[in-house]
Each structure stands twice: as C-alpha cells, then as structure tokens.
Point group: C2
Chain length 359, copies 2
C-alpha cells in the first residue's frame, strides 16, 4: 500500500458529469489530503473547472477520453461502444493496472457493473459480485447487500455475501465480528426459502471468525438496525432499498404538507427548526451515498447518478476507507475459511442456475 | 346476495383475542348496521363481553369452539390440531357452507392461509392464492400483492394477480380501470426477470378490459402512488411491506428524538400539534389493516395480530366492502378474459416449479 490513496474518477459519469464530480472530489480531498486522483474524461471540460479548484488540480492528473457511457446505455451497448475507450472503462482499467487503488463512478449501474466484471473479474472462489450499501438505521448504519448486482442467489452465494459484507462492516464500523442476518419473510407457511435456509445452516454450524451469525431478519429489522450486515439476493434487496427511500421521502412530504396547512404549525415549525434540521440531516441520502462492488479483483464504488458534490464526496470517502483499511485482503482472508453449504446446496444451486438460463 | 352482510369472526385469533375482536366488531357494526356476525370461539369468554356490548350482541350469534390456533403454530401444526374444531377453521368453514359471506381473523397468517386453501380451494383457473394489502401512498392508497402468500411466481401467476388486484382496486377506489404496474428492479443489467417480462408482454399485448397496464415500477413507485395496483411475488412483496413499515416508524422515531432534544423544539411541537396529529393519522397502520386473500372460493381477511379494536374494525370494513361489492364475481369475470402468457411461459414456469420443489 502506497502512502497515498490513488482514486480513479469517471469524471463524465452521472447526471451532471464534471460539474459535480470535480467539486465532490475536492470536498473529499480536504477530508483526506492523502488522496491522489486520476481524472478520466473530456480534458477540454475538465481543465477550466480545475483552474477554479487549484487544490484539486495539484492532486490530480487528467487522462483524456473521448467516449462517454450514457446514463441510459444498456450494459451491452456500453461495452460495445465504451470498452477500452470510455472514461468509465478507463477508470476501472486503472485499477486493474494497479495505477489506481479504486475507481468511483456516478455512471449507470448496469454498465459500471458489466465493465467491472469483464475487466477486473471476480475474486478466486466467488461466483458473482454483489453491490453493498450503507443503510441508515435507528442505531447508526448497517451494510445491506445485494442491492442489485444479480437476481437470485444460491445458498453458497448468500454465505459468500455474508463473509464479504462482514469484511466491509469491519472497516466501516470498526468492530471485530459484525453481526450478520439473512433477510427472510416472516410468514410461517413459507418461512425459509431453501437457499436462505441452507445459508443459515452453514453459517450457524460452521461459524466464521469474522462474523457473528444472528439468524433470519425481516424487512423491518433493517431500519431497526437489528444486525450490522443484512444479506439477501439482488431482486428483493433492490426493492427493499428503493421502497425504504420512497417511504422516507413520503413521510417527509406528509409532514411538510401537514405543517403548511396552518399558520400555528408554521410558527411551531420555526421554533422546532433545529429538530427538523437534525431530521433532515439524518435522512440525507447524500450521506450514505456510495454502493460498494464486492467480490471483484479491485475496489469500485458506484455513486448515485443524480447526487450533488457533497454526495459524490461521500462516495469517494467510502472508496478511500475501503482502500485504506484493505477491503480486498480482508475479503480474501475471510473467503479462506468461509462456511460451505452442504450437499443439498448443489441441487438448489442448479435449480437456481436453470432459472437464470431462462431469464 | 342477502340484504345483510354475514361475517364470520375468529374471535380467539390475534394477540388479544375477544378483548380486541369484539370491540372492533362493534365499531365496524356502527359503520355498517347491515352486518350480522357469527362469533366463533370460547363461549365462556365471549358471553360476558357481549353483555357489555348489547348492540353487538343483538347482531351476533355465538358458535362455541374449544380449540384455538396459537400465534406461533406452524401451518402443519394448526391443521393437525385445529382442523374442523378451531375457531379459525370454523370461521372459514362458515364461508364454505355459505353461512357467512366472509371470514375475518387476526390469527397467524400461515395457519389462516393453509386452512383457507385446504377448505375453500382456489378459484377455477387460479394456481395459487395471493395476499393483497392497502398501501398508503402520496396520492391515497394502492393495492399491493402478493405480500406473502407464496414465494416466486410464474408469468401467468403474475398476470392472474394483476387481474385479481385490479378487481379489488375497482371496489376500493371505485374506478373502472385501475392502473397496474409490475414491480421490478431498475438496474439495467438485470432489468426484467423473465417471469416479470413475460407477464408484462402478456398484459401489454393482450390488454384487459378491467385494468390499464402501466408497465414496470420500482420500489419507490409504491409509496409515490404511481399505479393503483402493484404486482410482485410474495418474497419481495413481503420484504417491501415490512421494510416500508420499518422505515415509517424509523422516521417518526427520529423526529420524536430530535424534538425531545430541545425545549424550543418542544414548544414548537405543541404549536404544530395539529400537523403532527395529521401526520400520525396518515401513518396510522390501523387504518390500512386487513390483508385480503385473493384467488380462493370465498373472502377471507387477515387482520394484524397485534392491532387494537380500531384496527380490527378496519379489517372488518374491508371484508364488508369485498362482499358488498362482489369481489368474487368480479375476479371470476376478470379471469374469463385474462391475458395468457405465450409459449415461452411454459419453460419459465417449469423452472420456477423446480425451484419450488427444492425449497
């Protein structure tokens, strides 16, 4: 590990491109002066912006690229026209070439994941990567994965995600053995999809030095902060994440509407402004911005496409931490003694694979 | 249809049994004086409570039962010791025998669904029942299903749920062609599980006089109220529901904590109390209590087990509406011209079935 943390930025990614990425990069740089940036993108657009950010300019090197992956490109399209030449690809490629320690992009998730998989490949023993996010809870934050890398998961993939998520949680929360729960449904009749049950059995019986297995958790346990790490397959994980975001916004909107309906309430609002600001800060999606791609031979961070500079800076921050506290070697170490799901896992995995083929 | 609506109550169901069910039944009776109740449960406990509710007593008939399905019974246990003899079974049985128009229970979901399936059977052409709930949104409410009857769904089952959910939405919202969306994930790479795509194609191409197909929706569209009916399979639906409940509670708790931190905020709270009360009412889970079992030869409503009398009354209300506005014949009519998923559906359905076998 070098004494600096070298971060490759896809400057053209996201809804606002350089106008958000560069100011965001500067905010993160102030917090972590040991960052050095590789800026991949249109030099003609980056140069003038850097002139306005001399501090950032000093810590950065521009690598000009002509091609931009669009926010609505399908992964296949992105690979076809952006492979080897786009700012997104080149940022990831810098990680593969060990010219950067991690890559951060606000570009489209599907394209970013496809390019990261093709270019970096999955780590030894890991079938599929996952996307982990930080989820604000009643007691702080939890790591939740997979929030959308792939649909369906065998028992072993769920176990692997538990190990990877715990490695990330050890860094983020600075605890030795994070608690891990498997997301499940609470209706007795159907409790325990077979894959989830298998993963639970393996985690309980084999144990793992890097995590404390808690058991099954339900949807409302996520926000309650019942466990440090919540593991689920990508379809339900993505829906849970979007549903929670929507609900938080909905409640805030209700409150705003209710307050605007009366003068007395407006006065009360002014008096309680400090509390409302605290609430707003707590719910600020920018603070937990940054999806971490787990299971690849390199650190790649996905920022929300529509975020602002503050939000992008959070994504850079999390990339910085993952590098500084050695996410990859922690995952590799964890995988060495990962629990294995039993003989029955084979059957479930092949049924799941078959479903994948048809989809 | 008789001029009264005859409702069978599992008086022993739920965390509080008769102490909540009977006062709840009375609240609903005041709103709908044309209800007549069949009360299934322990006569020795019901009689004295009825004495305190003369109005309810007049509209009710007690049928004594000795056996109670416990909240933690597994469906198989419930069937073993509660079949033919429990208050839950007998309430459902009254529907089968046409002695009641619907059954309402706050007992455990898995047992209730198992007994309802065994006793009432699914409607012609429907493979599996679903549980639909009313979900509070920015614009009112939406019908969301399946929130936990079964895991996984073939394209055809998703289409059938669209038809059933629309039938329910026509009653609840009094609109001729409710809009219907299929819940999906927004990550480009994996957008469109095959089953969801097939269902979307069938709904778009065949059309249906009873619904307006909107397309795919994501998790945050549910609370936004983008469509009147949101269709998904039971695992992700249950997780979305629990996650939203957890998030709403979480935001309310944040707000409470923030207000309690300063005197000024507390004074502001007092002034804005009307607005907070409006918010509380809007978020009141009791008002949208009542899961509707769809696809069975009879109307069965599941109330939350931990709700109070007001909440139980909401579950009775929705049962009343489903009977009064003829849910079953609307579903049957809708199924006659339901869209059929194409030839490829067979392959996906069999892969999905295989997954079921292993789970």
């Amino acid at each position: 590990m070098s004494s600096t943390v070298r971060i490759a930025l896809d400057v053209m990614g996201g809804d606002h491109g350089p106008d958000v990425v560069l100011p965001g990069a500067e905010i993160a740089l102030v917090r972590h002066p040991d960052i050095r940036y590789l800026l991949f993108g249109d030099e003609a657009r980056i140069r003038p912006l850097l002139a306005a950010h001399p501090r950032l300019a000093q810590a950065s090197q521009i690598i000009h690229t002509d091609v931009v992956v669009r926010m609505d490109d399908k992964p296949s399209q992105a690979l076809r026209h952006g492979r080897r030449v786009s700012s997104m690809w080149k940022a990831i490629d810098a990680v593969r070439l060990h010219e950067a320690d991690c890559a951060v992009s606000a570009g489209n998730t599907g394209a970013l994941m496809a390019m990261a998989k093709v270019n970096l490949k999955t780590m030894a023993g890991i079938d599929r990567p996952a996307i982990a996010c930080l989820w604000p809870t009643m007691c702080g934050e939890s790591v939740v994965l997979d929030v959308g890398a792939s649909i369906g998961a065998s028992g072993q993939h769920l176990v692997d995600m538990a190990v990877m998520g715990a490695a990330m949680a050890r860094i983020v929360f600075d605890i030795e053995r994070p608690t891990v729960g498997l997301l499940n449904v609470g209706v007795e009749e159907i409790k325990g999809v077979e894959e989830v049950k298998e993963a639970g059995t393996a985690l309980r019986e084999s144990g793992h030095p890097g995590l404390a297995y808690h058991g099954f958790v339900e949807g409302d346990d996520i926000g309650r902060g019942t466990v440090d790490v919540v593991v689920t397959e990508g379809f339900s994980g993505n829906i849970a994440l979007k549903t929670a975001e929507g609900t938080a916004k909905q409640v805030a909107d209700y409150l705003r509407a209710a307050i605007n309906r009366s003068l007395l309430a407006k006065i009360g609002y002014l008096l309680a402004r400090g509390a409302f600001n605290a609430l707003r800060e707590k719910l600020d999606p920018r603070k937990s911005n940054g999806g971490v791609f787990l299971g690849l031979n390199g650190v790649v961070i996905k920022s929300h496409g529509g975020t602002d500079a503050e939000g992008f800076a959070s994504a850079v921050d999390i990339g910085y931490d993952m590098v500084r506290y050695q996410l990859l070697s922690r995952i590799a170490a964890g995988m060495n003694d990962r629990p294995r799901v039993g003989a029955r896992a084979g059957a479930a995995a092949s049924a799941s694979a078959e479903l994948q083929v048809s989809s």
